[in-house]
């Protein structure tokens, strides 16, 4: 999408934008001076937009190696009196949390905004994690937008709030907003702040700790008044309704639509809560003063439900609070509209048993049964590696190498990235995977406690730089005989091919630090680098490394097939299957599983290569036992 419209000072103009782009626009309107972050779905596009805007608008923007480095860098910028922003996905804040818990205690200078995009249902994550608790845990102000215009406005205002309170402000968003496209109205771009300057007359540390801890609590008490001025929260009601429905940030959309579907506009009071911390008690009490029942709609955990329940107890009148904790809404998983409609209809029935709900509010029982029956007919569609992906070649080579050297019970450790697909067919080879960089420390212990078995750890390039290096140092220090296979595709692949310190495509502009140089500096005794798609050589290297009794690293290197240089590379060859040689054994599909392999149209169970899907990587020739796969040269495009 053309993002340039987001970089111009055209207030009032309507543009089509992603939620993440709206947050970026808010930062631009605030005159942000320094932004950094680490890529992670669903937060990535905030940073990508700002990186695109930076040269034109003259601020600093770059990807950091991990979220802690990003947070610490944004801290340095804020200490230099620059408006700064650190951007990450929910789990990224875990990595930065050590610093967050210190910086909260310091009177910062330039406005400091931490963007945390949570991933309800773990659409692109291992966990659901509700980072509103971080705000409460740290004692920092936090806000969450309900729509695109609020995302822009709140990102902008967060800098002012941060400067007024002298503390970082957390902007919480969710996948559904970040990856929603819609119409956004642009606001005015404020003039850029002063030249950054670091004031050496102050001490920028929370020491000794009790005085800063006291001050933090004071500031947080004051934060309530400051946030109230911005009127991020909204009450819609007459003051006589018996039912109240509360939506936290983006979830308020579901509240509004559910109320419309059930025709309850005139009968229920609505409350949008966008202030996460401190809780906006006054407006909550306004609702609680007249209702008997409240439904709280929010993503991930009953954060607000619990808080409202506590507030309700102060009222001294029994008020039923419904939500994820009470069982009115599912305990886990993203909030979806249909669940809100059902929950609200149920509450209406309890409060006014005579009040019917429209018959078309939800699908009929018959329809629900038919849907379920159809779902049973529909085949699973396993996700897999892209055509031309180097990870497929690497997993294939390891499978063959293990067989060739006779290792039957290896322990295979995975890490975070596209290569976690190694858990699924056709490879199904990974056995553990936890957090970024964890493969190193985990394999270190597995090798120590399972000395009779070979331990193999897979780690991607970006993950290695992010949090793998300390673990590798541990393996090296203890000389544990782990075989580390670095899946180096030169970019942070799964989030959209962002650069990192090993991105050789940027060698003209930046210092590139290859993984193998680090491994050698760490005194890993055996380090080899192989091109992933040269499968025969890769198998040989892996065979050799598997038999060693010392730490070994094989760097399997090939640019991500979606990296721009690769993606737009003109194909010179395309794979073909010689139908005379193919006997339909399906070894290619079972052992390699490239999405370009399809059933041949002759209907005899033979395989063909889809010429549209084939990316011409040429790696699949070696997988056919009948040597039926060959390459056909393509005419150069005119």
């Amino acid at each position: 999408m053309n993002r340039e419209v987001l970089f111009r000072d055209t207030p009032g103009m309507g543009v089509l934008a992603l939620g993440n782009e709206a947050i970026a626009r808010g930062a631009i309107e605030a005159g942000v001076q320094f932004v950094t972050g680490y890529p992670g779905t669903p937060s990535t596009e905030v940073m990508e937009t700002l990186i695109e805007a930076a040269p034109e608008l003259g601020f600093v923007a770059y990807w950091s190696v991990n979220e802690k480095v990003a947070f610490d860098s944004a801290t340095g910028a804020s200490f230099s009196n620059a408006r700064s922003m650190a951007i990450m996905k929910h789990v990224g804040l875990n990595v930065a949390a050590d610093s967050l818990q210190q910086v909260k205690l310091i009177d910062i200078a330039g406005g400091f905004v931490v963007v945390s995009v949570d991933d309800p249902s773990g659409v692109s994550s291992n966990n659901e994690q509700d980072n509103r608790w971080y705000a409460k845990f740290a004692g920092l102000p936090a806000i969450e937008p309900a729509d695109l215009n609020e995302a822009r406005e709140m990102a902008k205002r967060a800098f002012e709030i941060s400067e007024e309170l002298l503390m970082p402000v957390i902007l919480r968003s969710v996948t559904r907003l970040g990856h929603m496209t819609g119409d956004l109205e642009l606001g005015k771009m404020e003039p850029k702040g002063q030249e950054p300057y670091f004031d050496s007359s102050r001490q920028w540390t929370p020491f000794p700790c009790l005085e800063p801890e006291r001050r933090l609590r004071e500031k947080l008490r004051h934060a309530g008044e400051v946030l109230e001025r911005y009127q991020f929260d909204e009450y819609q009601g007459k003051g006589s309704e018996k039912i109240g429905v509360v939506g936290a940030g983006f979830a308020f959309n579901y509240v509004q639509e559910a109320v419309d579907i059930l025709g309850l506009r005139e009968e229920v009071a609505l409350l949008k809560i966008s202030t996460v911390n401190p809780l906006p008690s006054r407006i909550i009490h306004r609702l609680l003063s007249h209702v008997n029942r409240v439904l709280v709609v929010e993503d991930v955990t009953p954060f607000l439900e619990e808080a409202i329940k506590a507030e309700a107890q102060e009222i001294g009148r029994p008020i039923q609070i419904h939500g994820r904790k009470s069982g009115a809404l599912p305990e886990v998983g993203e909030t979806i509209l249909d669940d809100v409609v059902l929950a609200l209809a149920d509450i209406v029935r309890r409060e006014s048993p005579d009040r019917g709900v429209p018959s078309d509010a939800f699908p009929s029982k018959e329809r629900a049964e038919r849907s379920a029956a159809i779902q049973k007919l529909i085949p699973r569609r396993q996700i897999g590696f892209c055509a031309g992906c180097s990870h497929r070649a690497t997993y294939y080579a390891l499978t063959k190498a293990l067989k060739n050297v006779g290792i039957e019970d290896p322990i295979v450790v995975g890490d975070i990235g596209c290569y976690t697909l190694g858990f699924y067919p056709p490879f199904s080879i990974l056995q553990t995977m936890t957090s970024m960089g964890a493969s190193m420390g985990t394999s270190n212990a597995l090798a120590q406690l399972n000395p009779s078995r070979k331990v193999i750890a897979f780690i991607g390039d970006s993950t290695f730089y992010h949090a793998g290096m300390p673990g590798l140092l541990q393996i090296a220090h203890q000389q544990r005989p782990v075989l580390i296979i670095a899946m180096d595709n030169s970019v942070t692949g799964s989030t959209g091919q962002q650069p990192h310190p090993g991105t050789w495509q940027l060698a003209d502009e930046r210092t590139v630090i290859p993984i193998e140089d680090i491994a050698r500096a760490f005194q890993i005794p055996h380090v080899r680098v192989v091109r992933s798609l040269q499968i025969k050589r890769l198998i040989k290297e892996l065979e050799e490394a598997l038999l060693l009794d010392v730490p070994a690293m094989v760097v399997s290197r090939q640019a991500c097939a979606l990296e721009p240089g690769e993606r737009w590379r003109e194909r010179t060859v395309v794979a073909k299957v010689d139908a005379a040689k193919c006997d339909g054994c399906l070894v290619c599909v079972e052992e390699y599983g490239c999405p370009a392999f399809v059933a041949a149209e002759d209907g005899e169970g033979k395989i063909a290569v889809d010429p549209v899907l084939c990316n011409g990587c040429a790696s699949c020739r070696v997988v056919c036992p009948r040597e039926a796969i060959y390459l056909e040269r393509l005419e150069p495009r005119k």
Partner: protein, 215 residues
């Protein structure tokens, strides 16, 4: 559904379903641009990231005077555009409104496990039958992949189907605004191919309609 009707009954809900890489996101962006040109509010929900590679993907697009969230309630999808028929049925089962229109590509992308014989095949005829049983209003099946290949290239199936969607008049936005939106959103290198497929898609639909009227 006519434009007047959808304005009074909440947003017009469109789902574009397919397999990762078929361009469902691009198609939804085109529709959104077209809707904005016509002064509508629009919301799109889609899944990004590693989840999409070769896997099932779908975009939900909502167009109207006022739209809240991007998620379409179950059984309220007015138009389903299936870039791949299995994926179309997967979403129709959950979302298709009674009498909702379906436009599907007949080219089945056979899942890996089916190729391996590990799960039964779902044939196109069965998909059609099930869509009818779900109460689809218009059910239009076209060999969009082959037709697009002859028009703007195999990579333009998504745009060919947008053209057909417009030609079949199952969609509340004008062909002109869709064409403008394609111009606004396509990289220059692919523009000619996309415009060719869009136009051929529309012409194809118009020809089919005429043929059916004469029957």
């Amino acid at each position: 559904m006519s434009q007047e009707a959808h304005n009074t009954q909440g947003p017009f809900n469109l789902i574009i379903a397919g397999v990762g890489g078929q361009g469902s996101i691009f198609a939804s962006q085109v529709v959104a641009h077209a809707a904005m040109q016509e002064g509508f509010s629009v919301r799109i929900a889609e899944t990004y990231g590693v989840t999409q590679r070769g896997g099932p993907v779908y975009s939900q697009v909502r167009i109207g005077k006022q739209v809240y969230g991007p998620l379409i309630p179950k059984g309220r999808c007015h138009l389903l555009m299936g870039l791949e028929p299995i994926e179309a049925l997967r979403r129709a089962a959950e979302y298709l409104a009674p009498g909702g229109s379906v436009l599907i590509n007949t080219h089945v992308d056979v899942p890996l496990e089916t190729q391996l014989g590990k799960q039964p095949e779902l044939r196109f005829e069965t998909i059609e039958q099930e869509l009818r049983k779900l109460g689809a209003g218009e059910l239009l099946a076209i060999d969009a992949r082959a037709l697009a290949e002859q028009a703007g290239g195999a990579g333009t199936t998504n745009v060919f189907m947008l053209g057909a969607m417009s030609g079949f008049e199952i969609f509340p936005l004008t062909y002109e605004s869709i064409e403008n939106a394609v111009r606004d959103t396509t990289r220059s290198r692919f523009l000619q191919g996309n415009l060719t497929s869009l136009n051929r898609g529309r012409e194809y639909a118009l020809a089919v309609k005429k043929l059916n009227q004469n029957k």
